[in-house]
């Protein structure tokens, strides 16, 4: 499992929200037994609906959790060059030393990331000056060069956030997250609030900056059409568990979990007039998840075994894992046009 090409390995990670009010203990299992590894130089997409635990998962990965969320079990190891670090075992100085320099974060609400009453350049010096560890002159030179490489004018450093459009602000937060050339970037729904035309430009920018720097990006969104265009591999999260993981093309052409098959098959497309069915039921309550496979109440293929036994995440193809008792019987709802599945090792 531990491979030199993996930048992050996660083993059996469990993180629960634990609350004790009036003597009643409540436990919300937002991240439940997740094992995955993220390679160098790839975009790893995490897909799942709201309240499936995907934001909790990336908060745990970013070592940015606060009570009541706590890591209960499992190991998390980053490998940056010759540094090998588990943020939950290391001291806070060691964790702060990797922040922004090796591990950075593109956040969803660009308006709440940038300080509204200060110019953009203050956000840059606040976030990036200390981690970069160079003198002021070199810092501004590198910042300007970085902005130019991302096709942003260095003049925006003088602007206030409200003077920029939503797409421009989102680009600034991407520049801010990448200015220290980090090896690992977490992107939490960076394009959800953007218009269609701007969305594609911002996605292309994330992809370009990832290619230039050879970093790894964990990209979170519930929109499968975004994943189709940016991710190399996708992990599907349902009710706190990883239910399927594989190369993007494989998940789109030959999914092996009924939830993935639904997500992919129900995407409306221009030129396609067939009726798309919606998934019945509602997302499960993580404080009281269904027994067995958590998807069974909404699953068209559910059998009695699914109600009692939790399916393990098993290899079903080349770098393709699925947690379903009936993985072999899953059929794609609507096959994607074009050539058959290509599995890139």
């Amino acid at each position: 499992m531990a491979d030199s090409t993996d930048i992050l390995t996660v083993k059996g990670l469990k993180a629960y929200y634990r609350m004790a009010y009036f003597g009643i203990d409540r436990e919300v299992r937002a991240v439940d037994d997740i094992t995955l590894s993220i390679r160098r130089n790839e975009v790893y997409g995490i897909a799942g609906e709201s309240s499936s635990g995907k934001t909790s998962l990336i908060k745990v990965l970013a070592a940015a959790i606060r009570p009541p969320l706590e890591v209960v079990d499992g190991a998390l190891t980053y490998r940056f060059g010759d540094i090998e670090i588990d943020p939950y075992k290391a001291s806070s100085e060691e964790v702060n030393a990797i922040r922004w320099k090796h591990l950075s974060y593109i956040m969803q609400g660009s308006m709440s990331v940038l300080n509204p009453v200060r110019r953009i350049r203050h956000s840059f010096s606040d976030f990036a000056f200390q981690p970069m560890g160079v003198d002021k002159k070199t810092f501004w030179e590198r910042t300007r060069a970085h902005l130019e490489r991302l096709n942003l004018s260095p003049d925006i450093l003088r602007a206030y956030p409200h003077e920029l459009s939503g797409g421009m602000r989102q680009r600034v937060t991407i520049a801010l997250a990448t200015v220290c050339q980090p090896e690992f970037i977490i992107a939490d729904e960076p394009t959800t609030a953007l218009d269609v035309v701007v969305q594609k430009d911002v996605l292309a920018m994330i992809r370009d900056v990832q290619r230039q720097m050879g970093s790894s990006v964990v990209f979170v969104t519930h929109d499968m059409s975004v994943h189709a265009n940016i991710a190399d591999r996708i992990g599907i999260v349902y009710a706190g568990r990883l239910v399927e993981e594989g190369p993007t093309r494989t998940l789109f052409t030959a999914p092996k979990h009924p939830y993935t098959a639904h997500l992919v098959g129900s995407l409306p497309r221009i030129g396609d007039t067939t009726t798309k069915a919606a998934l019945e039921g509602r997302p499960p309550n993580l404080a009281d998840p269904p027994s067995g496979c958590r998807f069974h109440p909404r699953c068209p293929l559910a059998i009695d075994k699914c109600k009692t036994e939790v399916p393990p995440l098993e290899t079903v193809g080349q770098s393709h894992r699925s947690a379903c008792w009936r993985a072999d019987e899953v059929k794609p709802l609507a096959p994607v046009a074009g050539q058959p599945a290509q599995v890139t090792p």
Binding site: K200, A228, T248, R249, L263, R269
Partner: protein, 302 residues
């Protein structure tokens, strides 16, 4: 045949700034379209933020007065609806559904209280069982029931369910026209199709016309009968939905179509930003020219 809704050369200008630096912004410029009564349809308005689509919806709902032009709904214009009784009669026929169901409902109130308030004010019901029947009838249309949502607070329902309750509330007075402003953009992808299919069922089964406002071309293609594409307040292309979206002719419509993320090349890493020359042509000529009718029934600004 009388028109259900007749929008004639409607414009809306907003004034910004103080006395000395007053600026005029054209939110909507010279928009005309007609919805026929008797043939329910889904009429989609597409555009980016700032294209004036929400302002247009607010004018149709009577929340905003047009600066120029006229909006006539079933023979009565906004000026004729000044008194409360006429206003209520209008609200029984036209109902809105808003973008974010979590913001549309007060988190501290049970959702049924909104349904109840609508039944009381718009239908004038006083009797408890009559109110419950009206609520249950509307909820049945959206695939829920009164027993399911009785006593529930907004946080106890999923986004998709809550948006369906919002649509049920709009359906209580049995309106002829539903104005849905981005009803699916805040709803999860897996639940999105249930709302979109519901809008289609409302048209097919209950004969409700829907003005569907969105920036998502794929769902627009999926349910719309007619489509109107707006750019900076101007209509740039209008016509039957499928031909317009399959072969858009105006540069801005082409730009929108190019920006749709396709899943055809999933995982191939193909991610080209939309063609710059098309984009430039689309932005530079914004609002110039006039609408010309084409042989296939669409109108294109040239």
């Amino acid at each position: 045949m009388t028109a259900l809704l007749d929008v004639t050369a409607v414009s809306k200008r907003f004034a910004m700034g103080g006395i000395l630096s007053r600026k005029q912004t054209d939110a909507v410029v010279d928009v005309s379209f007609t919805l026929a009564s008797g043939t329910p349809e889904i009429f989609t308005i597409i555009g980016e933020s700032g294209s004036g689509k929400t302002t247009l919806a607010r004018m149709i709902l009577g929340l905003e007065d047009p600066s120029d032009g006229q909006i006539v709904f079933e023979g009565s214009s906004a000026e004729e609806r000044r008194n409360a009784a006429r206003r209520l009669a209008f609200m029984r026929r036209v109902q809105p559904v808003f973008q974010n169901p979590f913001e549309a409902f007060n988190p501290l109130k049970q959702v049924e209280r909104y349904l109840e308030a609508t039944a009381r004010t718009l239908l004038g019901l006083k009797d408890r069982t009559a109110i419950e029947d009206a609520m249950d009838g509307a909820l049945q249309k959206v695939g829920l029931s009164y027993a399911e949502i009785k006593g529930r607070f907004p946080h106890e329902l999923s986004g998709g369910q809550l948006q369906r309750v919002a649509i049920a509330r709009a359906l209580i007075p049995e309106p002829a026209l539903l104005i849905a402003d981005e009803p699916v953009s805040m709803v999860d992808a897996s639940l999105r199709m249930s709302i979109v299919n519901l809008l289609r069922d409302l048209r097919d089964t209950f004969g409700v016309s829907v003005i569907y406002i969105t920036h998502d071309l794929a769902t627009a293609y999926y349910i719309s009968d007619r489509i109107m594409i707006m750019q900076k307040g101007h209509v740039v292309e209008m016509g039957p939905a499928r031909p317009v979206l399959e072969t858009p002719q105006h540069p801005y419509s082409r730009l929108l179509k190019q920006s749709v993320l396709s899943t055809e090349n999933a995982g191939q890493g193909v991610l080209e930003p939309a063609d710059r020359s098309i984009a430039r042509a689309a932005w530079e000529n914004a609002g110039s020219g006039r609408l010309v009718e084409k042989p296939d029934g669409r109108m294109v600004r040239e």
